[in-house]
Symmetry: C3
Subunit: 404 residues, 3 copies
Amino acid sequence: MTQDNGCCVSVCQCFFDYATPQILVIRSRKVGAVNRLIQAIIVAYVIGYVCVLKRGYQDTDSVISSVTTKVKGIALTNTSDLGLRIWDVADYVIPPQGGEVLQRPGSPKNQAEESSFFVLTNLIITTNQTQSHCPEVPTPSSMCSSDRDCVPGFKDVRGNGVRTGKCVNYTATNMTCEVMAWCPLEVDGEPPIPPMLADAENFTVLIKNSIRYPKFNFNKRNILPYINNTYLKQCIFNSTTDPDCPIFTLKYIVSAANEDFQVMAVHGGVMGIQIVWNCDLDMPASWCTPKYTFRRLDNKDPDNTVAPGYNFRFAKYYKIADDVETRTLIKGFGIRFDVMVFGKAGKFSIVPMLLNLGAGLALLGVVTVVCDLVVLTFMKKRNHYKAKKFSYVDDFALLSETAT
Amino acid sequence: MTQDNGCCVSVCQCFFDYATPQILVIRSRKVGAVNRLIQAIIVAYVIGYVCVLKRGYQDTDSVISSVTTKVKGIALTNTSDLGLRIWDVADYVIPPQGGEVLQRPGSPKNQAEESSFFVLTNLIITTNQTQSHCPEVPTPSSMCSSDRDCVPGFKDVRGNGVRTGKCVNYTATNMTCEVMAWCPLEVDGEPPIPPMLADAENFTVLIKNSIRYPKFNFNKRNILPYINNTYLKQCIFNSTTDPDCPIFTLKYIVSAANEDFQVMAVHGGVMGIQIVWNCDLDMPASWCTPKYTFRRLDNKDPDNTVAPGYNFRFAKYYKIADDVETRTLIKGFGIRFDVMVFGKAGKFSIVPMLLNLGAGLALLGVVTVVCDLVVLTFMKKRNHYKAKKFSYVDDFALLSETAT
Amino acid sequence: MTQDNGCCVSVCQCFFDYATPQILVIRSRKVGAVNRLIQAIIVAYVIGYVCVLKRGYQDTDSVISSVTTKVKGIALTNTSDLGLRIWDVADYVIPPQGGEVLQRPGSPKNQAEESSFFVLTNLIITTNQTQSHCPEVPTPSSMCSSDRDCVPGFKDVRGNGVRTGKCVNYTATNMTCEVMAWCPLEVDGEPPIPPMLADAENFTVLIKNSIRYPKFNFNKRNILPYINNTYLKQCIFNSTTDPDCPIFTLKYIVSAANEDFQVMAVHGGVMGIQIVWNCDLDMPASWCTPKYTFRRLDNKDPDNTVAPGYNFRFAKYYKIADDVETRTLIKGFGIRFDVMVFGKAGKFSIVPMLLNLGAGLALLGVVTVVCDLVVLTFMKKRNHYKAKKFSYVDDFALLSETAT
């Protein structure tokens, strides 16, 4: 039956050659059972893991989101500088803008878009600063005993101004170099405890979040359809009683991350508000709702007291009579809230289903490898099967035959 | 020719054993034609889909981008409070910074970097606020008939100040609790229609966008090389007549998203400006140009009138004589423009080409499966072929033989 | 031994059919050597590339990061308008907030989170602007010879105000249309050289960066555990001598990107500070340290002088006697620093190891293809092997036999 072993008889014949492997069929209860068992495992894996758990029959899309935030609340402070003073949203939300949209579709696993707002909780205030001359705050480099210690024009990178060259009294006992600066200088000590805007824990924030899954043309917002104006005017988020209310108290957010608001408010910090929109769009749209979680983002390392918290300086500028510019310098400590939106949606689609089924079924090829191992190693009749499965061309035998 | 079926004769021989499947070659016009047809389909798929459509021969990279924006324009308002007033860019762009760079390389499919700016379009202004006492705005909780209804020191989270404990006339007929607050209080009604800065529709924004594909060391910016200062000074983007001009009127942006600027300006909103840089770097660099599209990002749901639009409060602080701080409170409504840069570039590379070709050609393995199905099921000579392709070890037969 | 070629004798038997390919074993030193060589290459590839280089035995995670920044330094300017003036951080960092957190988990390859701050380096200042009338800056469209050239109420989109309809003297020789605007108008020329805040090169910035790999519950910050307050108070980053100090001088950042600070400071620009946290968490945690690199992000294209640099306008508002609002308009040029955090961590995990090993070993299937090619094409005994490997069903032969 073997033909001539050279090339095909004709090119035409060669073109129509069809090569298919020769197969040995073993009819045996044991082998067959092993075979079917392994097949069943693989089919179960494909259906269970790929189709049910991973939803391999769905096309997926990443969320595109837009966040705006609005803080409400009133705080009262009582200081020697300012007396009784009311702080409202225009005073303590810095910068005033209610949340910028920052999109971030991400890795195949999770996506986020982000927006942040800052609420002032504590401050060191220095009022009525003007451009003038005053003694530098005492540090090893600014202390002096005579004008010779003070180089005129020298700008200490950690100082507050340009040295005039004079050495003047800072207190009755301390002398420091005089600087040209915004005077009087800020006395940069520890922030007040309790924090000045301790009332901030009762502030509320309304988070408006619109999401979109562009591939499925699906839009939704976190103010769910059933929420009406009346509910929205009085509700406060609580993960058990009001899980759909988009209004949060700052204290709740911080507590949910296992932090103490009054402690955190002293030095400030960074909180993450995570909104997760994982939606199965084969289900009713009303099942697609946001889940809120809260986490502290900055490292509160108890062993590491270097530069803790979150603060920055800003100033309000005034012009009083005679065109002199004065300013109020504020070193503001506070909590920055970063709203992060994550989400992934899936919807039935024929192409990913075929791809995943195909990939899953390709695993059926593994069956033969495993079964062969079992059949040819552990079965009693293994030598019988081997004799049928394997043929041999033995060049060593030929050689020895030739040698004899 | 079959050897002893135990282990190899020697370890050496076993090491040099080479196992290759035995092949049955069927020389038949029909079978061969089916075989070659399926092969041709798979090769066409590999070339057509993988190479041409998906550009599988290219290495790809995600865009890294930097965006800056600059708004220009003048608006005129006429109100009883302020009289005639001119608004320029320093007045209506809040915060003033012209676009922050926000990078976001994303999922394998699309990437974006983002930057945003806010243009004030409407406002409720409350001038000359000072820290003092005044009656609260009437709400169910602030209305009172006598001092007993007003708890001193109570801070309503939705109110404007701290109650003093007095019940005073708000109007001739209404009495509300007196609060310590920034007085006079803002009357928080509906924003004016038409919007106060209706002129904002004629504002222009210059968007400067530098992109970079780091893997290919490719840089480009959206001010294309042929654009000179003269053109840039007078051009206005129009998708048909001036598709390369990086200067947009706000009205055009909003209109391109099928929105009405004057309607949107009343309550504010969020607009997306999408810049797409999809580049085939095997082509001349001048073919790599940005495409601009526009979309409204916040949900304008007609059924959902809860908390529409986009607004925030901010204040300008003044000190007048006697060192009293006053402020002008502005509830600003406006449009936030989010510039999002997406992009993906491809360039010929040998490694992804080989990988994709390999994966594509691996599909040729499917040919045998399909052909076997055809040959052994539908061909007239199927039994003849089967007899050649399959050998059998029949344990059932053996058993019955033994039984007899 | 071949059974009846129809269906199985019984469904039961058919169910237990196990099909395995028939194998030809060639025992030959040459063929075996080729076989083992190719196997060795593939195993070496799997171990070397997949396991060692790509760390295929590790599960990976993307960085989640939080960045805050704090700038320090003093600059002195001397202008005719303002006289000697000190600029501190509250004056030149705009907006004041020290870095927003912007997270971006990205493509499988690299991730970044970003935060930015802006330092003013140069400015054109226009003091004491009030809402009043003044002649427009001369441009082709604003020049006039009589009132007839000036349309009252016209707002030039590139102008500074609303025309009153009068044509007035701008200088002794030039006449321009009068506008209602913030007067006096800014004279928008080239920014001063050298830049006004040339001292900004000595400013320092402290970058605090907390990262987290959520999958491995691994937290770290760039202020490494060994850094104490004393070191932090005096250190300055230098890639060779102080690579772990989180305090950078602005000049160092710009120089490291091969730019000249004083040149860049004139028109402004955008700098990228890249922090890379690539960590092998199978190693001690102390090996996981950040690497800092610096790059200019905006396109400094020498051929393209259109709209270079980075600047924006902002104003400080004052109220002087008689309740008149005045403002100081500042066209600020400066450098925006974008802090981008990239990172990927890997840690041993059994699932990805098995997956990668499996995928690698699947390549062993290629061995047979290559060996067959060698054996059947180049070996002397190829016809001998072919005769053993291939069986033939030759329909052409059958046909011709029938024909004869």
